[in-house]
Assembly symmetry: D2
Homo-oligomer: 427 residues x 4
């Protein structure tokens, strides 16, 4: 890098750092201190923990090894706020995060500020440094830390939603700025994607996760993709047709789950005086039939597809479709709605590939060819989770627009419902 | 009652009300909001819940039925803060109390204030009322509410201790005002209590719980009672003698518990560099060998007694001993120490019957003869728990002095350790 | 003992030994080998295990220490068939007994025969022996072994009933020899038992368990005892009155059990075309309203008593009543019916104290005063179970007549239903 | 089909039927009746159940719908011995199969004979029948029933092994006819398989399962395959190198399993006096370092591969390799050894693709393109299990030679260890 380029890169990183870090605090702003400490299910982490853990990441991987003279904010935080990095040492067990009533929220804010100030010093040190040899590595670590924080921002939103939903008072997280206009129905159609050899995986400049690397070619047969996401109204037909009670639509383990968990509708749906409502970030609302259906597990998505006589896409079909119909924009977190929105009847072609809801694919989250874990703790980021999870594509209304790519591979266990997950069909 | 007496009784109740209600808030004063919402084990209730539930008791049983024109503070609190009264309706399940991140702590304080102000009005209404017919009933309900609040004050202390103990930072609840002087050992001895017919149960004026009524005579054989509580030092000998590993000392279910829960010392004991310490309300402290041993389950108490070649008392032996050696004073919550204290070498006779630790007896918590439940919700107070629990006597360092009696029957399941429970021996 | 007396005692023991050991095999005769190995719930032991364990008892406590030159039948049986004697060494865990598909049933019969033949040699050795010093101790151990075998005979019957009941084919254990005549209703009445000092516990000659020793006096108030057991017809009224759904009748833990276990009738009751039937040792039969109700847990017995406005007896009240109305005979295992029978309308006074069903008392199974465990393994027989269990009195239709006494203390956890347990009321 | 061909096809099916059905009984011949009824873990079915269920398959899908005048052997067997076919109706729950102590083993043998005799009649009816229209369909169902029985034969062997292994007596299933000669080590090497487009899935004549259909092309990169299976000796190095304790080799859920299940070696390995032995069908034997390692879960296989610096194959790589190096013969059940055997040093090229152990692949068991479930109950055979399981290839020493194909897809959950599963590496 030449000097000018370097200075620019550092400046850019600094600005991005400030912007992303600030968003975390914006997300937590409507919370009471008590909201930030509980863990109603093991999947959900206390918001205070998210706030601290994202700071821990910068402290552990940037400040401690790279900022001369850095002293940790608190000697036990390394233990308290490690998530799952065995390389970094022992830690509070995942299901014990609600024991951390201390440090109190104000200390966590102070921790964030401490880390932010020292990150500024690190940026300055980088800018002034004569030895530029480590610059690329450090900027790449900063980038990883920010992408990591964006992932936790999405989790913060889904975890806050879950926490508030368990409260009998059904608290409102935030009223929407504008009430959405009355949406109109968009007719479903299926668009042809030609078969052939497609190149999948991440190539080119910019950030990607290690699980997107290993670019390779795949052979696909012709297929057709639905022009939009499946809606609440369509899913309601499945419910009303007795879909949850008919084993023929279901994978065996999914049908067992229907019984043990008494499933009869998506997560957050409740019937009030014979009318379906759903708990949203804006409180309890009536179901809008044109909005994308959301908070489904993989089994529900797949059972719906079977009932409809269609199927889910594979992750490579999704990626190929996004090459044929490149998505532009979408209902991401920046819009502030925090719930999926109806498709636009006026749009021709494939819409909603980006944003609204993550789309379950019928692809297992496995390594791409030539996948390699990074050495050390950073190598624990993705690779060790590559079993028993399914890939989701496209981002949701809780994802940052700057975080998504068409090669992005999100992944969850098939029974998880608390993320903004929905359905797109293929045939 | 004549008018003067009535006025006096109401004034007394009013003062007692203010004093006891204020203590609850004093107990919670050192807590962070986050401390007040978690529930690390199902036995432990969130402090915020205790604060609200004790107010709910007055609102439900006094204000709603008896204060004209009273409007509940919040229409859902009846559901949120009911503990176990089926008669009052449905409620948040016991193991779901940590979902109540809302109402936030400040609303619970407002709820308390609202209830307190209206209780003042009720007292005033009583004082001014011409119809005195219900006065006795209402004062008795007030008394029950205050005794109930005192019970929850003890639970608050034990629950706070448990909550703080699960935190890796081992937070200090409160530094003691004075460091206790170096205690001295008090030699153990056994004092004769003559056999014969004793009258047990509550008689006379004043408050008692329904489980103490049913005064009756019991025949006891001669026995001998230990002059003080068993100490940490004595219990340590049991540990060092391999007591936890020798099935001969243990009830069968207790020995199974030793294995499944990996018991090797009382709750809160930890070994630091080969030295036993314990987590206390003042932080982590070295074991004082002269202090009473504490936080044991019944199985540990009984195994220790077997190891020592002695036995535990029955609840009637304890009550008989307290008739022969009436206790005066003790280390109760009013002393502010919140941990048991060493016996006094200078005292002759039986000491520590009151305060320090509840003493496990080998008596099941069963109804006394002619036990009757009160009609309605109040009848759910004690009777429905009369199985599978063991009686404890004498109060602890977390009990109010004004709450205890020699006929008082506390009760817990034999495996519970988080209360201030300890050992006195008989032979 | 003089020589004649000795010879007589040995001869008597020999005969009793043969008779009791033979009954075990009679009980198992109708079983398939497959019936003898399964363990559908942890409470139930495989019949093959019972057959082997009772032999293990004689081998371990009599043959090995006392028959010169005795060689164990198989060196691993000591491990396989130990029940809970820590003193004897490690053992197959209780919930793993169904892993013992080997040794096959025929080997267990061979084991029984081996033990029986060597017991004959031991009796002979005793008879011929010059040193009579150990005679009393050995005869007492033989007696203990036989009483132990009788206890397992009762368990065999209840365990076989449970095993067969889980099979969708509802197999018949054995058709009754005679169909019982149509029974008639016996009117319920309550007979006065005067209060005062009663002596309880075992005294005199003959065998008793250690838990009956410690004869002592108890003071009882006047009470009244029901003349017979509660019937199916009476219990059905409780069911039809919504008894299982009304919390006011229930202990709190019992009412929770009603919900988690979906209780709505006694164990083995099933509704066929709107008619209540019950699985019996003779197959599925219609409920006979005059027969004693059976297979209840303590909570059901107590809830019924509350609903009826009565109460259960304490174990000392039961024993006092049996002194005032000494029972003679009863529906024991010798009658071969294996199900409880209706009371006799013609009988005046208290009937059914013996046989039919064990009667739940509201007394915890705790040690009597001066209770002492025997030294060594035999000391593990009773004492280590003295917590969390309730005393039952009087024997059942699966008990041997020669096994019961009015001082006999049976005990089970309050939630257990698979024994022949029923209800007698007091007021 | 012409008449001669038809007669031949029926004769062939008849012979195959007799041969395969007889093998089931041969497998069960060494068992005691008690061995045939237990279910130590939910994965394992009682052998008696396997014997009955395979007959139920013929009765349900062939005799009842297609043999005129057929009367079921027993009207409740349809309920008792249905495995998981919702279309056929309700059934004994999978974890309740050990409740079926009745029908006894001899009745199950009679059931088998009854079904066999009537199948002979059905074959005769087919042979004599004028209407040949259904012949192909019926012969295809017979074929499915026989393939189904062969699958249960493999399960019978693995389940019997598990059942015997839980018994402290460690019973021998069967002594091997010949002791294997001392095996020699075969040097590991890696052989190049060229990348390109391969056609995978079943094509051509003969039987296949629906999950192999949907022939399609896949693009593979060049890779190298290990010439033989990983051996006990090699795996022991992994153990001795602390492989089970080093998180870096493991998938996260696998490493958690290592801790919760205390894994430290393959299933059935035990250390005796510091020497590793393993429970086999021939009893307890010392580890042979040249034999293939066996009874591993997917996590262990994958961790070993990581430790060795290699990886597992995908199922398509395995299938491609089998096209380049077509396997001929292998250590299948017909050899009667029932344990994997060492590779042959003399063999050049890839060996052991067939037999010995199923090879875990890093491929999820998902539907092939255009996968369709058959209509009705037969459609429940494979499709509903296509999630959360991993594909294994090549058959084992418990598989029938006539049952395997290079396109055969076996599948198990990644944590399962009781099948004969092992490792082949790729790089």
């Amino acid at each position: 890098m030449n000097t000018t380029f370097t200075a620019l890169a550092i400046q850019q990183a600094t600005e991005q750092y400030q912007q992303i870090r600030a968003r975390t605090e914006t997300i937590c702003q409507p919370l009471e201190p008590e909201d930030t400490v509980v863990q109603p299910i093991v999947d959900v982490s206390p918001p205070k923990w998210h706030m601290a853990h994202t700071s821990w990441f910068f402290e552990t991987f940037l400040l401690q090894p790279h900022l001369s003279g850095y002293k940790p904010f608190h000697k036990q935080y390394s233990y308290l706020f490690n998530s799952y990095y065995n390389s970094v040492g022992s830690r509070v067990q995942r299901d014990q995060r609600s024991t951390l009533t201390r440090p109190p929220l104000r200390d966590v804010y102070a921790y964030r500020q401490h880390v932010d100030e020292h990150m500024q010093r690190l940026f300055k040190q980088l800018d002034e440094g004569k030895d530029k040899s480590k610059l690329a590595e450090l900027l790449s670590l900063v980038q990883l830390g920010l992408q990591h924080e964006q992932q936790h921002q999405e989790l913060l939103i889904t975890d806050i939603k879950y926490i508030l939903s368990t409260n009998p008072l059904l608290p409102v997280y935030k009223r929407p700025l504008h009430q959405p206009e009355n949406s109109k129905a968009t007719k479903a159609s299926f668009l042809e994607i030609p078969g052939g050899t497609y190149t999948v995986g991440f190539q080119g400049e910019g950030f990607s996760f290690d699980n997107e690397l290993g670019v390779h070619e795949v052979l696909l047969a012709d297929f057709r993709i639905m022009n939009r996401l499946v809606t609440n109204g369509e899913y309601l037909e499945f419910i009303q047709d007795g879909g949850y009670g008919d084993f023929r639509h279901w994978l065996d383990e999914g049908f067992a789950l229907v019984h043990t968990q008494h499933l009869e509708a998506p997560l957050y749906w409740v019937k009030q005086q014979d009318e379906w409502c759903r708990f949203t970030m804006h409180g309890l609302e009536k179901i809008n039939p044109n909005d994308p259906v959301c908070h489904l597990n993989f089994y529900e998505a797949n059972a719906y597809a079977n009932w409809a006589g269609k199927r889910l896409l594979t992750e490579f079909e999704w990626e190929a479709a996004s090459q044929v119909h490149p998505p532009t924009g979408g209902n991401f977190v920046e819009r502030g709605r925090l719930e999926p929105s109806a498709a636009e009847p006026a749009v021709k072609g494939v819409q909603q590939l980006y944003g609204d809801v993550w789309e379950w694919t019928y692809s297992a989250y496995h390594p791409y060819p030539r996948f390699e874990k990074a050495p050390g703790a950073i190598g624990e980021y993705n690779g060790k989770f590559m079993l028993n999870q399914m890939v989701l594509r496209g981002g949701s209304c809780a994802t940052s627009e700057s975080h998504i790519r068409t090669t992005y591979r999100n992944f969850f266990h098939p029974e998880k419902r608390w993320q903004y997950n929905g359905i797109r069909l293929a045939q």
